[in-house]
Symmetry: C2
Subunit: 149 residues, 2 copies
Amino acid sequence: MLSRASKYAILSTLYLAEHASKEKKMSVKKIAEAIDVPSPFLAKLFQQLVHAKIISSIKGPKGGFFITKKNGEKTVCDIIENIDGLHKLNECFLGLNECDGENPCPVHFIVEPFKRNILGKFRDKSIMEFSKEVADNGRFLTLKHLDLD
Amino acid sequence: MLSRASKYAILSTLYLAEHASKEKKMSVKKIAEAIDVPSPFLAKLFQQLVHAKIISSIKGPKGGFFITKKNGEKTVCDIIENIDGLHKLNECFLGLNECDGENPCPVHFIVEPFKRNILGKFRDKSIMEFSKEVADNGRFLTLKHLDLD
DNA sequence: AAATAAAAAGACCTTTTTATCTTTTATTTA
DNA sequence: TAAATAAAAGATAAAAAGGTCTTTTTATTT
Ligand code: FES
Ligand code: FES
């Protein structure tokens, strides 16, 4: 449904929202390490997110990425839109050219409520609100801590 | 979530279930045309499905693909398992290494019920039953008929 | 038996996605 | 001002997914 690129971007941005700020910027390397994604790839993605004003960056020593108040008002939807395109969230589960109730595929009426639900989740809360909720509810952005094997 | 390969395989098999039988076999070409998928690609997929005893085939003139009573007892799950692997239906929506309620990602509790639902749909009905339901409820396997533009 | 129709098998090609590497630019600090 | 640090930009590479083509095998029809 979502590309890896989008998934990396979402998790990394939420991580950034929780752990960085204008006063405490973070380098790509640190973030990539923290949530276990390939850092040069993440660097590319972050470039796009900066461009889309979803996150901010400053070059040089003591530089890095962070999220301003303004940035934090963007949504997870905005991330997806800028990496994959929003249509990726609305494709037919079985690959029909369109997903709509007029011409439903065999699983449309199972899939459609889910899609509405997740779209709402990604659209109706700002990244800052979403991030707070994630932290409050003890959701995970990585399972790195489980690699005890 | 599912690869195109799986989607093609599911749609084509359901089409076969509805339109072919031991007495009325169908060639790849006809099926591919009917549901609008690339025929050499579908040929490959059907090879795998024959191997997995999900569909049957006879070579030569008057040959083609069809579904026996025995075949019809398989499930859509079996198709997915043989093309993509079932794990594709159980991956974390945001790409965490595992999807489980002990270590949920930010959207786990939205995604998990949907996954259970769709898995049930694909597992608890035989392909023949599923196909009948699809026909009875007027679900579509292609939107070819809409290409009036 | 010869011609033909269709699947099986496997090699091959193309595009997209994922990932890396290198150079440049901006900023800070010593 | 020089050295160091970190992002920006862009070229490149590797892998996976998607798709095509050719040859072989099998069955049927004439
Ligand atoms: S038509 Fe297939 S999911 Fe809506
Ligand atoms: S943990 Fe992400 S969907 Fe279950």
